[in-house]
Symmetry: C2
C-alpha cells in the first residue's frame, strides 16, 4: 500500500494522527449524510431532520455543533418569526470531496463483494 509520499505529514506518527483526525471528523453514523445533504445547498434544521432518515433532534444538534466547531459548516440564525436557522458548507468542507469519492467507490465495490457475492 505504501501511503502517500511527498506529503507534509511525513513521519508515520504524524500520518497516523492526521488519519485519525480525519476519520474521527468524518466518521460516525450521521456526518456523511449531513454533509451530503448540505452539499445540495443551504438547509434548515427541519430540512435536515426530514431528509436524514432516523436521526433525532438531539443527535442532529450535536453533530451540527461538532461540524461547526471543526469549521465544516456555518450556522446562521435568520431574522424570522418563528426563528429559523440555516446551515451551509464552508470552503473547507468541499475539500472532503476527494474523500467522499474514494469512499463511495470503495463502498460500492465492497457491497458487491460482501453482500453480492
Amino acid at each position: 500500500m505504501k501511503l502517500i509520499s511527498g506529503c507534509e505529514a511525513s513521519t508515520t506518527r504524524e500520518r497516523t494522527l492526521a488519519l485519525r483526525d480525519a476519520i474521527e471528523l468524518l466518521g460516525g453514523k450521521w456526518r456523511i449524510s449531513i454533509l451530503q445533504y448540505l452539499s445540495f445547498g443551504t438547509m434548515r434544521f427541519k430540512d435536515l431532520q426530514e431528509n436524514i432518515d432516523g436521526i433525532s433532534p438531539k443527535v442532529l444538534t450535536k453533530e451540527l455543533q461538532d461540524l461547526e466547531q471543526n469549521k465544516l459548516i456555518i450556522r446562521t440564525v435568520n431574522n424570522t418569526r418563528p426563528v429559523t436557522v440555516s446551515y451551509s458548507l464552508t470552503a473547507h468542507a468541499y475539500e472532503t470531496q476527494a474523500v467522499y469519492n474514494a469512499l463511495l467507490e470503495f463502498g460500492a465495490k465492497h457491497r458487491q463483494l460482501i453482500k453480492g457475492k
Copy 2:
C-alpha cells in the same frame, strides 16, 4: 460538492448506504493503524500489538476478526511450536488506498486549519 457521477450506485439512498458501509468499515480508532501496519507486510499478532500503541489484546482480536469477516485481511495459523498466527492484507484491502490518500490529505489540511492557527 455534487458527489461522483457515472457510478453504479446511482440513487441518493444507495450512495448513502455505500458511504456508510465504507466509513463503518474503515472508521473507528484502530482500523487504520492496523491496515497501515499490515501494508508493510505480513505480521503476527504480537507484531501488531507492539506496533500499535495502546491497543489491548482484546480489542486487537475483535478488530482483526471484523476485518477478516469483511475480507480485508487473511488469517493464517502457522504450524509452529508454539503456534503463531500471521495476518496479511487481501487484494480487496489495497483498494482502500485511494481512501487513505484522500483522508491523509484532508487530515493534514484540517490539522493545519484547526490546530495550526
